[in-house]
Symmetry: C3
Subunit: 487 residues, 3 copies
């Protein structure tokens, strides 16, 4: 279990003025606040108490050893026995470990009719019932609400948020849910209603996840990078070592070779973003219907597209920066006119050639258009666009980026196709490998745009189905009903 | 009409875990959900059914041919006759085309007293009454609510959002509005109350718009870019061709000439951002009052400033990147000391001169300050600032950017004013043209800061009016009341 | 007092279509709106009236000279006497200066039982009671609500937001608070409940603040920059002038020296981000408990970390850009092989050496990882991550950035340690000074990772306390309760 207080988080920083405002707010709302009880005297219990006091709530803490623990709690919290604490409140935070739930049973009658808030987490994902459901079993005459488990002790006591402000609330009792949601709001959080207590199983799994939506995209990108790096190193370094070439460019691995690998990785990941859409298109065409589910791998791939796009932008940024540092007549002489020396000893620098200027222009345009795509992925920017606008940017602009990036590569390597060293090491140049995927993708996309094919898939996407022996006939209010699409 | 399912959108990607959470949430809320009916069996109807089922609602779908259509709907949806479906619910989605509304009239009595949700869109903006008002006319004993038309079928069925989560709701019946807004919330959307059914006309127009606030800014920017490019090409290429100069630098169009055009475009757009404010200032001074409306073109220009600013940042980024690639002793020799060769044959590189170092420093500072301005335009960042802070950054920092950028240009071209080729082609250098606007703007701004003038406009902006024959005297609680401004 | 209408703000731009939608919404909600009264006829009063009319509210404006002022108000506002205006509404905006509150007393009876909304601001922070509390004293039979003071006249009348949409509402009467919050919502704002009228003092202070959370970070960063610049200029320029060296590189101050200062500033600010966390760690170790409060300076420093991080990113961006412009064989010859001339007069450029390639790679990686950190600081991105994810990125990725940046510096200067000019001017090279802090920081961090030390602090952070003579014994449900941490 990650110790939440191990690192002191940056999170959303408040000023002294913000804290004063908080306390003023808490103070000024006190008269309208009802007492809240907390069972347990550990770290989380203390943090809860601090937050509740600061939000203007009278707090009663139930501890097995009140006299010993009192000094650790804030002034506004009254540390007393469990029974006494529970009797003074209708809302009771159960801030003890799951293993200790049975220890609370002696006070069962005092807890009857109260709302118990289960704030527990686990170290690993539970099979079977959640902690909250277990608590509900032990105390059938109380109402159990699952809440606050996604909030760390540090967030409660410091008032800062490292991550989301949301508190997921679930309970079988709708009124209890509302009550706890209002409490969360009064404490400065953003409660989200998750329905009945059954949802507690998933809610308890949430804090155990670390960027799950990024896993596939990261694996794909890393795999591509490693492959291209090894390939490139083989051609440029290893092979030369094997054949005994004395000029092995070890020196140029960090910048030159890494940069070329970054470039290849970027264009490949970009293709990964647009491939699944095209595959889905052809799959629907082949199936003749949109109602046959996609294979599982394609579904996952489709869901990973946003992350792939953002990783592409990240890798492309590094490539752009390394290029700008590496690019010059020293490393890329073929893109420059010769630099010569006059008889007086002055150096006349050779300017960039057409090929150099053009491929750099396309690369720059592709990159900054990709930045625009990235900016529209910022959640608050996405929310400011309607569906049509968002689709326009992501789809149309996206394909422009792909075409510009491919053009960038083709012009860059235009002369390489005839360079003598091209088939050295019996393998083709790295950049040629990375041209294969974009070429196929663009070809497929052109096919999808052909009128005969695109109109057929249009109909399929609006619900039409090809007649297949054994399959029931397409719906009869056919076309008319099928055109009922919003947008 | 844009087929929403033509491209499979990226949108806000959910993980498998998010979907499970959704389904769990749906499952766990089921018992508290009332049945919802959908009329129609087309694509949108199916998507609605999927979303409602996943959100835990019992769904009854009314179709003219239930047996045929049943297999296309999710398990949790009961596909039956129209009359049967409608009788089981109080909320009825009318997912059929406007042309088919009259076909529903036989079931009018079954629909009486129910809430009908009009989800339709049009291919182009309607003159006259909206679809929702038409539906309301046909079914006077039902309550019509306009909602969900801005949500695509894809968003409903995939659970992903491409763009905003908002659902605009309008109806003549306030309770019906509340009910449908709660339904939208339960389905995971963010409902917005738009009052009476009259608003439906505008609501139906929304999905037909594509980034309307950007149109003017894009046109202005593109116009400037084209003009400067042609001008620059004329001077550098065409004129030379006309006079038969053999050294026509075609090679340098992609990078060198495009870059200079980008630079000129950026500074010009930046001036476009700050000009309307200054013009408004002088207009108020001339009018002697703040109550005379601005001319229409000035109003539109004032509204386009944010978009102009973001376009300026985009163009300036491309300029910065191309410059970094193009800048060197080859293309910009006058900013470097000479590079010479020693007698041993070693090349001693000439370092950059003061002029080069300085203009690059100013350009860099101007650019990154502009990035800060851009970052504060991100909606969630804007919302974290109070009004005074936002104004400080946008106005004060903005003028610093303008001054740095102008300084950047002046130092860059300091020597050009005496270069022999300056008046070649009987036109002045491109960069000189682009210096005109900033010069005028900064001059005007200095005038606005003069105490005599600025204090007069201050009074005008606080409500004071110059005595003009025929105009009623300024209000008598004059100055006192006029100082009542927040901030 | 900042005149809010002095600069016409950009803010959140709306299109003509948005305005139509607003007006339609206002029109269509009119029937359900109650009349609102405004006392005062100054600038703010007019702006309020415009906004209310556009939101569909019937407005009655109470002025001491209705006939004179009528023409300045929008059509939908009825300008009449104070008494008449007040009698028609339950909600009354008091848009007059604090000095004029007593002038309203003749109408006290008409105001009895109404809700008075105090919208005033001050030019400087008040000692003692707020304007709202003063108003409440003068009119004990009315209910006073503090609201809208953070909203400018410009925002009200233009419909655009420069900064946050929030309206802070406080009042001793909870129902009145709700009413005014609903009004704010209907006017398009986002109301926030601040409890009782006591909070008005803080609420009136808010508009007087300008980015208070940034002050400490800005001072620290600026101080470092100035120190390093002067130090660098002394070594490179001043000292040479003192000893009469003819080659004083004045020319290279703008780019070369500024860039090196930026580099040093960036790495130093980066250390400032991570130092307080490490200091806090050792302080807790020394104290043997987590319950002893940190010194005030450490608390402030911990709160400034996010701003320090963003400033570091800003400075590092400028450094990266200036480096890319300045880096080359001219200024950094030791990172390149020699450039030579062949006998035919062709120049053969020397490629970059291993040291050059490597330090540039590390610098680039450090920079773009820092950009990722910056992106996760965007509020809407932060809110999309759970606590564990946010901590992972900010803490773990942050230390990777620090290590890469330090490596970048060490490799850059690897040879400098033996360069002859190293101890010129009897001071060490600037970059060596800037290496001291990272070295210390990384050393301390390594110590914190040692198992014996880290496990002890772990226990302290979970609530354990070292036995200290005189301090009460640690709580007895000791370890068990202490492990109750969320996450």
């Amino acid at each position: 279990m990650e110790k939440d207080s191990k690192t002191i988080n940056v999170g959303e920083v408040k000023t002294k003025e913000d804290f004063i405002l908080d306390e003023v707010k808490g103070e000024s709302l006190k008269s309208s606040r009802t007492t809240v009880a907390i069972l347990g005297s550990g770290d989380y219990s203390r943090s809860l108490a601090e937050r509740l006091v600061r939000s203007g709530f009278p707090v009663a803490v139930g501890s097995r050893d009140p006299d010993r623990n009192r000094r650790l709690f804030p002034q506004g919290a009254d540390v007393t026995t469990r029974r006494a604490a529970v009797s003074r409140a209708d809302l009771v935070f159960v801030a003890v470990h799951r293993e200790n739930y049975p220890d609370l049973r002696p006070d069962q009658d005092a807890l009857a009719g109260k709302i118990l808030i289960d704030v527990s987490n686990n170290t690993k994902i539970q099979k079977g019932e959640s902690n909250a459901e277990y608590l509900a079993k032990l105390f059938p005459s109380s109402t159990v609400v699952k809440a606050f488990n996604v909030v760390s002790a540090w967030t409660l006591s410091s008032g800062l948020f490292g991550g989301s402000k949301e508190v997921l609330v679930s309970s079988d009792d709708a009124d209890a849910r509302q009550t706890v949601m209002q409490l969360a709001k009064d404490m400065g959080f953003a409660p989200v209603d998750y329905g009945s207590l059954m949802a507690a199983r998933e809610i308890e799994a949430i804090p155990l996840r670390l960027l799950p939506s990024w896993h596939l995209a990261l694996k794909m990108s890393f795999g591509v990078f490693v492959f291209l790096l090894l390939y490139s190193l083989y051609r440029g370094i290893v092979f030369k070592a094997i054949v005994g070439d004395p000029n092995i460019p070890f020196q140029h691995i960090p910048l030159h070779y890494v940069n070329r690998t970054m470039a290849g990785t970027a264009i490949t990941i970009l293709c990964f973003v647009y491939f699944p859409g095209v595959l889905a298109f052809f799959l629907q065409l082949y199936n003749g219907t949109k109602y046959k589910r996609f294979p599982n791998w394609l579904d996952k791939w489709l869901l990973a597209r946003k992350q792939l796009g953002l990783l592409c932008l990240f890798v492309a940024s590094i490539h752009a920066c390394l290029s700008v540092l590496d690019f010059g007549p020293a490393s890329y002489g073929r893109h420059y006119d010769k630099t010569t020396v006059t008889s007086e000893g002055d150096v006349v620098f050779g300017k960039m050639r057409w090929s150099g200027e053009t491929f750099l222009l396309f690369g720059t345009l592709a990159f900054f258009l990709m930045v625009v795509l990235g900016v529209t992925s910022i959640p608050s920017v996405t929310n400011a666009m309607n569906w049509r606008e968002f689709t326009f940017v992501q789809a149309k602009l996206g394909w422009v980026v792909l075409i510009f990036a491919t053009t960038h590569m083709v012009i860059y390597g235009a002369e390489i196709f005839i360079l003598p060293g091209l088939f050295a090491s019996y393998t083709i140049a790295g950049f040629q490998i990375t041209l294969i995927l974009p070429a196929i993708l663009i070809l497929l996309k052109v096919v999808t745009l052909l009128p005969c094919i695109s109109s057929r898939v249009d109909r399929i996407r609006r619900g039409w189905e090809a007649k297949v022996p054994g399959r029931a006939e397409a719906p009869n209010n056919g076309y008319q009903g099928d055109e009922m699409t919003a947008l």
